[in-house]
Symmetry: D3
Subunit: 269 residues, 6 copies
């Protein structure tokens, strides 16, 4: 009654695929749990709406595998498939939740995990737009949940710093949402969900580009009524997805995973 295979889900298992005795066994060896947070938002004409959720899940699994190969056990919760995606709402299918809703979900999820004995939580970013929310909820939950420690590693600038080395794009520092890098990662793990027809490269005109070099140094968060992705990019892409390959995706995931494992080793082990 179902159709053909769309894609395969690979191991290691998260809580989603584990039975309760498997979780019970893991809890004898670890009190660390990754809580991946994705989104359901447009990713150009060639990537699925669930891209961020799929990538967050895959990163969690890669971390579990790499640390597992070193003899370290950790778990991951099922990925929260919704995020704060207001900026993408003008593209059909995008789902957005308020930051308050997202904080409540994460709170309930972590509270449940804490009851089972987890004490160290990695809130894992699948969508940049959730970063401030994750930071805030981490700070609130460390107050509420006894003996807990939360970390929110922001892997985006770490990976971005390596784009010039790794990407094939002629403008590697301008590869962002649904561009070469993100497309490559998606091809690496679920090639069947990526359309071969990836369209022309599109770079946001400088006056609209939120990543454009500023006349000032340092960071400024900007939010503007009615200015979202559709005003900046007609098809939802920032970069050149046509150059993406599975090999590039593998390199990027390696960079991210290595860094996440390094952070977890330094902060939680």
């Amino acid at each position: 009654m179902l159709g053909e295979i769309l894609y395969e889900v690979r191991g290691p298992k998260t809580l989603f695929e584990m039975s309760w005795p498997e979780v019970e066994a893991a809890l004898k060896n670890t009190d660390i749990v990754i809580v991946p947070v994705g989104s359901t938002e447009q990713h150009g004409t060639h990537l699925p709406l669930g891209s961020d959720t799929l990538q967050a899940t895959d990163m969690a699994k890669m971390v579990i595998k790499q640390l597992g190969d070193e003899g370290v056990t950790l778990c991951a919760a099922p990925t929260i498939p919704f995020g704060v995606s207001h900026a993408h709402l003008k593209f059909p299918g995008t789902i957005t939740v308020s930051s308050e809703t997202l904080m409540r979900v994460i709170t309930d999820v972590c509270r449940s995990l804490h009851i089972h004995g987890f004490r160290k939580f990695v809130l894992l970013l699948g969508h940049g737009g959730n970063l401030a929310t994750l930071r805030l909820v981490a700070s609130d939950l460390a107050l509420i949940l006894k003996d807990s420690k939360f970390i929110v590693p922001d892997w985006l600038p770490v990976m971005g710093a390596r784009y010039p080395d790794v990407l094939k794009s002629s403008r590697p520092t301008d590869e962002h949402h649904s561009g070469e890098g993100e497309t490559a990662r998606q091809i690496y793990s679920t090639p069947a969900l990526v359309s071969n027809n990836r369209g022309e490269p599109f770079y946001v005109p400088e006056e609209l580009d939120p990543y454009a070099k500023k006349p000032y140094t340092g960071g400024v968060t900007i939010a503007e009524s009615g200015v979202g992705m559709r005003e900046r990019t007609p098809f939802g892409v920032m970069g050149d997805p046509s150059r993406a390959t599975a090999e590039t995706g593998a390199k990027l995931y390696k960079i991210i995973t290595d860094w996440l494992c390094q952070v977890i080793r330094a902060e939680l082990l």
Copy 2:
């Protein structure tokens, strides 16, 4: 960096796997969307915590496929992977969210879908414990979202009425959570996630059994402090999962899908 294949995800696509132009195209033919709501809760020693989420997703896909074969288009949102699972918290790994949190998530999801043009919403039950919450949020959302219609079809009694015909269990009317029926459905779609070692059948002693025949007719909702699944069943099973087969699972899914399609035809087409 990932491990071996755990299971395959089959079509048809939900919004999760679609790109925004695919959603845009679908919206030219339909204003109906299924919002499946699952859970992350223990399902015995042989089934994954994500069973309800997987089943809700599969039911949505089966409905899309069957109606699609008749020329009717409809869409499905990504399945909400958390539910009200307080009663299962004593089994490791179970995640529960408050009904208020669940209502907020469903509200934000439906509000986003309504912006894109969806008007008819099927809140699809993956976990019986969410039924009252789904009914309540349906009633609230029909007031808030202009020109909308919500249906919450309760397929559990429809399927249960057919258990005596379909199941192999010697006590088919006592097959409930993680019993023969649920196990069979899970074997049908993701056999690799079902443990072969399914343990002994377990039937809740009558004095603890919430489904036991009552000295009165009619329905009474009962909620009791500190009385959950662990008090009733030591391994989280109510029934005999050892008799489950893919064939039985297929029959059950057919019964549910046929009924859901019949309801959608009668109420939304």
Copy 3:
């Protein structure tokens, strides 16, 4: 400074009419309390807006009396006079509260009762539209209030099953809101509040009737923007109130009371 007598309130007493030493005495013999929940909503041209509240109160009193005659003590809180009555808002005078508001009131009421020592709570339905809310709040409160047990008995189908035997209507299974059955119950306890001019029978045309036989078996909750009682019935009646008599009302109350006592005996004693 008041006018003539409108109606009499009969015993037994609920907390509303008891003094605190009477409650203190009762608490030595019971930890069961009924919390009746009514509404303020239109009930045709012949019944008062408070009908559901009056009936919920009377049912609580009848249960207290019948069990009291058997030597069993129980108490009842003052009836909550407001419910979720969105569907009736187009008729003047109807008051509706959100399900969130209703849950908060019930929560505060039960929390207070719990402080005094009540542990077993019967959330008693006076208005069908409150059923999902009562079920949800029961489940939440059993988690919060130590050693508590909540039951929500749905007497509506139990009574409805007996309509063909008891009612005089030519279409007994089509007697619903403000029809023969409800009018009869109101005549039984407060005849002075029921208008003698009860108008013509009115049966909702099949295409608008939420109770009409469906082409499918089983239950589906339906909520639709802007579709309420006024669209279905011009005067707020579903049935034939002209045939109602006090005798019929007495028979129906007997059926409901017997069943509620049976449920309480089985679940709470």
Copy 4:
């Protein structure tokens, strides 16, 4: 199936006893509605827990009657039977709701009434402990409900100023909760609910008396953890209920009603 008559409810009708066509007719002549707010709290050993609710309802009816005799129509909502009664919780049976809950109920009730065309709202105090809440919600609702006007008349000092003339007590300015005045009002309208055994007079020792003369002029609101009525008065009485008579009750109700009608005439007509 009910017991003997406990008390009679007299006219005029509030919305509780009216049918929707009666409300529709009234709305042709008025846009004023009284929203009485009572409580369920201990009232000594001789008065029912519902005393404040009964009195608020009766005051609303007396106002409707007196102004009705002058040809002015106005309506009253069903009385909200719960209030902020934290201070009385140590007496069995007392029910308290948070001020936030009370504000939500009043908000939902007034919003519904506003939909039907009511524009002028009298929030009518049945319980002194609700005064600040009523004032706050009045201010908030006038902002939210278009073209509305809210008044909260505080009749307590108006009546208290007349106690020395009207009461038989030897200490008329020390008659407060469940004392001579309140008992007299309850005897006036529902004598059957007042116990003949009204106990000894009790006056709160000066050091505990919240109404005791202060060494300073002017008003100070005081709230103290764990200091409630039970610390001040062992049986819940402040005053001498033994001297109460129906005649005194009638005089007090006349004073209150006259003043309320005067306020309504000055502010709303």
Copy 5:
């Protein structure tokens, strides 16, 4: 990089100007803390928007100084600079917060102070429009914060009763918002912030005057949609600010401070 001096802030210190060891030392001698609550709202053409905040702060300091001269230590929190100022919104610059927001801020502030050992709280009114909110939050907090006592002294009528003796206005009982009294108090402490050009006296026409003598005795709270200060007074003044002097301001502050100290002595020492 700053401009010229606008005004001086005088002692004694509140927590705002103290270091933590200074607070630690004070806590050895007191558990009383004043929590002043001001506003940011229009005060005519001649007074700053922060007038209420400045006055609340100054009153707290005067009380600390007067009681300190008697050997009694107490502390004051930083003044909350926002209040419920809906009625002034039509004048540019006015900031209003909902009473719910104000209650949350006061709650968080008092909860923090309670952690440090403060047990007696004086919620000090800087803006009459906050009175009901302060009373409500006092009652709620005394329940929540262990062993706490809250007082809300309403100094407005105490001071108003002395206006005929102290003010130079020809209509002293009609001096209200930004009139002679308030202007005089502001001249007393921050003369540089008061414009010399104080315009003509303005008295609200009787039919619009909320302080006008009523045909009834006693108090009635009134709130009306769209009726605020701008409808009553074109420049935001009620009274004659031209007659204000520092001497008058000093007299008024003396009256208020004496009374507040008297209240604190009677209730908290």
Copy 6:
């Protein structure tokens, strides 16, 4: 009745010191408003609890002055004197508000300012612990407030990058909370509030230092139960306040102000 002068407040004026006609005049030339957000938290033994609030206010004034000298008008709201300061609660006097409370206050403040015509909002950080909250509320408010633009400039790293050039400390990159830099800024504007006795330098031992160099690059937010400032630094200082001078403070404020003006020119003019 007040004591000696504690400190002077200098211009330019914020809304706090302006009258409504001054705001009205400014609104003819600008729609930009700065909303400074401070804190009330320990700042070592030598700085006042209000340091962050004072600094946020001064930065806003410096920006207004510098841009004003270029002919550009902008306004500033009164500084919010409370922030998310959980980590400092173990030092007496610290006040902390939840991020939800802070978001509500900022929301109400900006909503009021928007009513008056302000469209461009600079949420100005006075306390690093508020950064995530400001970012989140900026994103939410840009959705709610029509035609609005919010910026949250993070000046902390910009200033920190210049510490090695400007500070006299032997460990300039280890100067943080209440260290040389912050002390210098406070000496610059309110020397009278800074104690001459500034104690010994204190540098957090590396294993406790949240700013210590990590074995990994990039940013990780960390929050841990029960681990706050008191565990890291016994007197609340991180650095060497003894070397602070007004000159250094002036240099730092110049760096921050120049950068903020540059950002405002680039993003809002």
